[in-house]
């Protein structure tokens, strides 16, 4: 038991860092799944895209803020691609996401010029903003935490505007949305683009935090994000927009602490994908067996 606690406490700050970074991904999963009713897998491609774009830009000598901005824009474009494919060809949203994320794998290697890019000798967004404190993990966590709060806050405000209401209407009842003069195209493109931007933001921050980008770092992020979202919704609820917007961040942080405990108990990191899948399945199964609908997709 003491050994478990010791290991866990050692892991906790590191996994907390991961948790706050993955909050962006959880936000980027929440928007398509919950706001637009558009089950989407693009996150698997837009997360490493964000990492690759930021890393390539930094390695090319751009400042980390510009590099992050480029990454976010790239993620937006990836989301738009998925949305446009769905809207024009009427393909299943999941298939559109798979096509885009597969194509992104090649694009990401093109962006990096190689499968991975170490960034150890470059200035990161942490160095830029935190200055002398940049190497302190808790300060890093604080910085990303503030960014997550700002992004979530902006999203919440947006969802309460007329424009945000229009986007929610598309996910809630698209026929009614059309009848109220809302363009399904416009809102879907905007929303899925926004989701891609959030995931890419997560990737860009992750690359700068671990000082390297790898084209394979997207594998499994969608399920992580989805698991985090479900955990968050179980904890804070999803009845109001406030709850719905807070849930991803809360869920991401809690979810990575649970992961941390699993590791402290002696599980291999490679076991986690199985456990995440099993966990998501369980969370989807419970309400079904209790007779309450809790549709994830």
């Amino acid at each position: 038991m003491t050994e478990f606690l010791h290991t866990y406490l050692n892991l906790a700050p590191v996994t907390l860092m991961q948790g706050v970074i993955y909050a962006f991904v959880a936000l980027g999963v929440m928007i398509p799944f919950r706001i637009l009713s558009f089950p989407d897998l693009t996150a698997e491609g837009s997360f490493p895209l964000g990492a690759a774009a930021a890393a390539a830009a930094i390695a090319a000598g751009l400042d980390p803020l510009t590099a992050t901005l480029i990454a976010v824009l790239a993620g937006f474009v990836a989301g738009v691609a998925t949305a446009v494919i769905h809207l024009t060809l009427r393909l299943n949203t999941l298939l559109c996401g798979i096509i885009v994320l597969t194509m992104l794998f090649s694009i990401n290697i093109r962006i990096l010029g190689k499968p991975n890019q170490p960034l150890f000798s470059y200035e990161m967004i942490f160095d830029m903003i935190l200055g002398p404190f940049s190497s302190l993990l808790w300060w890093q966590i604080g910085l990303v935490g503030v960014l997550v709060v700002v992004f979530s806050g902006l999203l919440l405000v947006f969802l309460k505007t007329e424009a945000g209401l229009a986007m929610r209407a598309v996910g809630a009842n698209s026929r009614m949305a059309s009848a109220q003069g809302i363009s399904i195209w416009r809102q879907t493109i905007l929303g899925i683009g926004l989701a891609g931007a959030m995931c890419a933001m997560g990737g860009a921050v992750m690359a700068q935090n671990q000082s390297f980008a790898d084209v394979n770092m997207g594998f499994g992020v969608l399920l992580n994000g989805l698991a985090a979202l479900i955990v968050g919704e179980t904890i804070v609820g999803r009845r109001t927009m406030l709850q719905q917007v807070i849930a991803p961040a809360v869920g991401a942080i809690v979810y990575y602490q649970v992961i941390s405990m699993a590791l402290a108990l002696g599980l291999e990191p490679s076991d986690l994908k199985f456990l995440t899948g099993a966990f998501v399945l369980l969370m989807l199964a419970i309400p079904r067996f209790l007779g309450r609908g809790y549709a994830v997709a």
Binding site: L165, N173, Q180, G181
Partner: protein, 258 residues
């Protein structure tokens, strides 16, 4: 206000299921006209409403609303001119949103999406007043989720949403057919009030011949995608269900029983 000329629409063209839904339909309504449309199943009534609303684009013909040619215009781009109450109470409202949010969506109909807060005290006051008119107590439930409302309440909300911006043409698609008789009466009463108050031009599809005779100043009977009989003024006032049946040898039970 609404002019449709020679509308034609064929579904599944070229296949064994080919079906002509609109076969040269023409109709013209002046401002303030309230037309009740009757006709048997497959007469093209719903196709006609869908064509006016823009949910389907006709193969041939022209649709003009308030002087604007909207023939090729998609639904969301003509929503500033035409609004609609669907037959299905679930179709016209959003269950996962609150009453206020549904109304906030409706009141911005035809305007571009702005980054302004959807909920303001002035709007809440306006919404309360509009809901109070129907008399179902919805004015005290602005923050309630629409999914909690009954079919009749949802349909009433749908009606308020459709009329909140004073549309050039209001479409009513058998909008009381799915309700119990008492609720249907409340919704019909609210509909007539709204039409009268704002001098709306309205098209109501109904299976209820008595409704078609009692309400509105125009009666239009459709058959096989065409207008086969029209009555207004004194002629309409003199109509009865029996006369209509006798004249058109109507054998469709649904039209009599509704």
């Amino acid at each position: 206000m609404l002019t449709v000329k020679d509308l034609r629409k064929t579904f599944y063209r070229g296949s064994v299921n080919e079906r002509v839904a609109l076969d040269g339909l023409s109709l013209s309504l002046s401002k303030g006209d309230f037309a009740a449309i009757i006709g048997g199943n497959g007469a093209g009534k719903s196709t006609f409403l869908n064509a006016i609303a823009g949910e389907l684009i006709v193969d041939e013909g022209a649709i003009e609303i308030d002087g604007r040619n909207v023939t090729p215009t998609p639904v969301h781009k003509r929503s500033d001119l035409v609004s609609r109450v669907f037959q299905d109470p679930l179709a016209g409202t959003s269950a996962s949103m609150t009453i206020e949010e549904n109304l906030a969506l409706a009141i911005r109909r035809g305007k571009s999406d702005r980054l302004k807060f959807a909920s303001t005290p002035a709007r809440r006051k306006l919404f309360r007043e509009m809901l109070a008119r129907i008399g179902l107590g919805l004015e005290d439930r602005l923050d309630h989720s629409v999914g909690l409302l009954s079919g009749g309440q949802r349909q009433s909300l749908s009606l308020v949403m459709a009329t909140i911006t004073t549309p050039k043409v209001l479409l009513l698609d058998e909008h009381t057919a799915a309700l119990d008789p008492k609720t249907a009466e409340t919704v019909m009463r609210a509909t007539l009030d709204a039409i009268e108050r704002d001098h709306l031009t309205a098209v109501m599809v109904t299976h209820n011949m008595q409704h078609a005779i009692d309400f509105g100043n125009r009666l239009v009977m459709m058959m096989a995608g065409r207008v086969v009989y029209e009555a207004s003024g004194a002629e309409k006032a003199g109509l009865s269900v029996e006369k209509l049946i006798e004249r058109f040898h109507i054998v469709d039970d649904k039209m009599l029983l509704a």
